[in-house]
Symmetry: D2
Subunit: 310 residues, 4 copies
């Protein structure tokens, strides 16, 4: 097993910064890949132990490239998640003043986050898209553009300086990243966990999706993400990527998944892992009737009824 | 274990006729009791192996005396059910003509079934209630009344003759009887079974009862009876006697019962037993997603996910 | 319109006492009838303005005779309800001591309420059923039995004295009575009202009843009574008598009834009337999303969307 | 009112082809805009009567740029939808042979559709992204790249020839376009219509989304699209873009929308318009209990109950 983590490159992006917040990253070789697909294929092919990719952000929602890779192809599993607050710095070559800036660049995903700032401070600057924020910084270094929006951490790598920092149109802008590996026994529950699955409906009828969600609702399980993705069977055909509260070793989650497995055409399990937004002690306990104890007591009672000992 | 069956007497009633349709009744001593309560207490106290009592009829609905006995007190279990079509004969002393009849008698439960017939044929006859239909026949034999409504089978026992038979106001009038014993391992499923339970809600809120019924509905389980009974905690406080399709050894039924056990304040299991209204081959098979195979496959899949083998 | 109220007689029963708690009873002639059926038929036939009958008690649950009369036949409507706490007195002829009592009588419905008291204080007394508690008192007056269980108020009418009062096995024993009239515009809402309906399912399928109850649940409407009654179409065929929170002039109740009307085979409206268990100011207000204001705002918004003004 | 339609340009893309399938397009000036946002702002600002933009495709799902524009900002309304099957041609300068091609270009959205074809026929060609498929064709004309994937219709405009046509990895690849205008009275129902809304949940609790979907499900309304989009309030906060069967003038749809309006924090109506995938006669009729007649009859019945005429 190679001790390397693939990640969506290039170096010097928010992805790398997020990855380095994981303690285990310090003991692995971190290898940038040009696309989510190639990073995940590196895991599938055994070239990397795991891959670190963005999966959701507060501006764009679910990141469809990543979701589509998890939905299809050889099964993968989410091991960990990381939340990173996203603010941009305006990086320039040393000596550049705001009034000198005629062209700015960044990855297109940055645009919704800096649009208002641009309108207020550089209304006349021309925007050019870059392949990544790091690549935008490189092009500024090379003199192709005057300024790049990127993480402040990217400045030193490209010999640039931040002219402005903390740029973000939306408050609470965050990106969620996941560390993805091959199927394995999920990490032990921490008390504040999340379980990800993909659901395909057996047939499409009024109430079909409502009934799927009912498997979570009747067991008191909150959902954090519901993202529809095309199945490939033509327009209007969707599967659903769902993040739900809890760990597959929680009885209520296991029970909900079993229910879904029965009523869905297909269910793909994507893993159970610690929540990045909550510390274990801060998660709400399950309701009395959906605790592990309640499930165990109910199963025991049914067994006693079946045996005539009631 | 005494080889006797208690039943709601006296002799010569529909209850005894229904009991004698059970093959096993031929090998037991059949002992009439004066009330449902005393018959069931005979079982509780070990005086009888089982008791045979009416539980539901098509005119009166659930028979509350029986239901209340099953709901409270030491637990009992339903072993078998019998359906009997109810039609009455008008029994008289030999020689009595219709025009001679001034007084008629029967158990009050017979009244809704013979009311129209009486209005048409004996509009001026006075009705007197008897403690049972058999007792009414005895009182006619003694000359106290002129005619009794009872089962035709009761005529010979009391030296009477049927002046008219097949009397029934409602088409399809039937009474359902149950053979009740002490808790034991339920009889093996036949493919057309019924499971009886009593449910007490944990708290009373909008949707509470809807959610209880949802445990059956989401598993494709039809209900045959839903009868509310007072809990004794004051007016407006009810528990629910429910007859549901299927056997506790069916995965969908066991799963529904486990769900109910979690969300109810209390569940009392009253047994799983063959349906009297259907032959095994005639029951609808469970839907694909609620078959035993579907439950087994789902549990297996969850186990594999928990083990990382997916 | 005759200014008389029919009631379930005879005189001197709990029913008459409950009826006299209604202020309007003081201005009507109160006429006892021998049965619930005859009292209600007096209303149907225009002989009485309204009829006062028991409909539910905390020991027996729904009173099936009354419910069945409301379910079938010419439509009637509930105008008012009264709750009466039920405790019994042991009435004897003056001079009778407890040790003199060999026989006791009362209506059979009294038996569950006095059973424990009898076992403790008169274990050897023989029980004989009477046609009503008042009739039992009359039979004691006539010397036929030694003692009668009846309301304390019945003593003077029959020249008896209460040897013991406040007899009740179950705490909080109450009977609910209703004043029933011909269909009319329901009384104005008081803020603490109840609406009664009878529902017949269109077809019987898993989840059918759950869906009916969902029409109340999704609108935050609590149920106070759900009593199944046979439809007459054979065993296992039931309609449902339901008492629900609120008044038909409340938007959420009207909306729920309209939903039920669509999905049920039949709905019979039985009236909206003030709750006897709550003062107007003490009822919970509807949830924000089911208030009249919420319904009005939603209807207004849909209208504006239909008109293109949004 | 200017008689012009804005559309997502440039000229010569699938969007323009789809727009020209609308009969009314023949009588309008068709004006290309550089972005979905600018096309929709042209409508908002009164520069264009309507805008034509892609909203969903069978490979990428909901087109988030368009959805986000409809979700936020000044309200707009969908007037029409168009479905277009998407297949690509490989466009080259006259004389280019397959073996000459070293570089290919197209809009990134084309990539999932031509990936397999490329792997099979041009495994060594380098991919370069273009701002649009039409722009890619222009760059081939200018000699910057050797070949472009685009609609076959784009060839003549740029002096190119199709070397291969009918390229599509996924069968049934379609894009759905919408004609968007300012809020107005929706077009009359055709019998096969669709209604689009955006829903924001009032609070986030287990079952919240299930209950929203229940407003459609209980009225027998099928959903064609459920696409979550970030609300901007931070990661994990989503609103839901929903396409549902039926027209706001259908009683069941109006009733569902009213229900949603009550229970949601906010509902944005996006219009009711003819379905492009069904001819009016081919749509399923509503179930008996959700037909306009059923709603009218139920409302009438409730009114009669309120008036005492039942």
């Amino acid at each position: 097993m190679p001790a390397s983590y693939a990640y969506l490159g290039p170096e010097g992006t928010f992805t790398e910064v997020a990855l380095r917040t994981l303690p285990e990253a310090a003991t692995r070789e971190l290898v940038p890949y040009v696309s989510v697909q190639s990073a995940l294929d590196a895991v599938r092919d055994g070239e990397a132990e795991a891959a670190f990719v963005p999966i959701e952000n507060s501006v764009e929602g679910g990141i469809t490239t990543t979701l589509d890779e998890l939905v299809a192809g050889r099964p993968l599993m989410i091991y960990r998640e990381v939340l990173l607050s996203i603010t941009f710095a305006l990086l320039v070559r040393p000596g550049t003043r705001l009034s000198d800036i005629k062209t700015v660049t960044a990855h297109p995903a940055a645009q919704p986050q800096v649009r208002n700032w641009l309108k207020a401070h550089l209304p006349d600057a021309a925007w050019e898209s870059a392949a990544s924020n790091a690549d935008g910084a490189r092009l500024v270094q090379e003199g192709r553009y005057d300024a790049a929006f990127a993480g402040e951490f990217a400045a030193s790598r490209y010999g640039l300086v931040p002219l402005e920092t903390g740029i973000h149109d939306a408050e609470n802008a965050q990106t969620r990243f996941v560390l993805v590996g091959r199927p394995a026994r999920p990490a032990a529950p921490t008390g504040a966990d999340k379980t990800s699955v993909v659901l395909w409906q057996r047939d499409d009828h009024p109430g079909g999706l409502r009934d799927l969600l009912g498997e979570f609702a009747t067991r008191g399980i909150n959902l954090m993400l519901l993202q529809s993705r095309p199945t490939g069977a033509g327009i209007g055909n969707y599967c659903f990527c769902i993040d739900a509260e809890g760990h597959i070793s929680d009885r209520r989650v296991a029970d909900a998944l079993a229910g879904l497995k029965r009523i869905c055409l297909q269910v793909r399990y994507l893993g159970s892992y610690p929540r990045a937004d909550l510390k274990p002690g801060d998660a709400d306990a399950p309701r009395q009737d959906t605790s592990d104890e309640a499930f165990a007591a109910a199963a025991d009672w049914v067994g006693r009824c079946q045996d005539g000992r009631f």
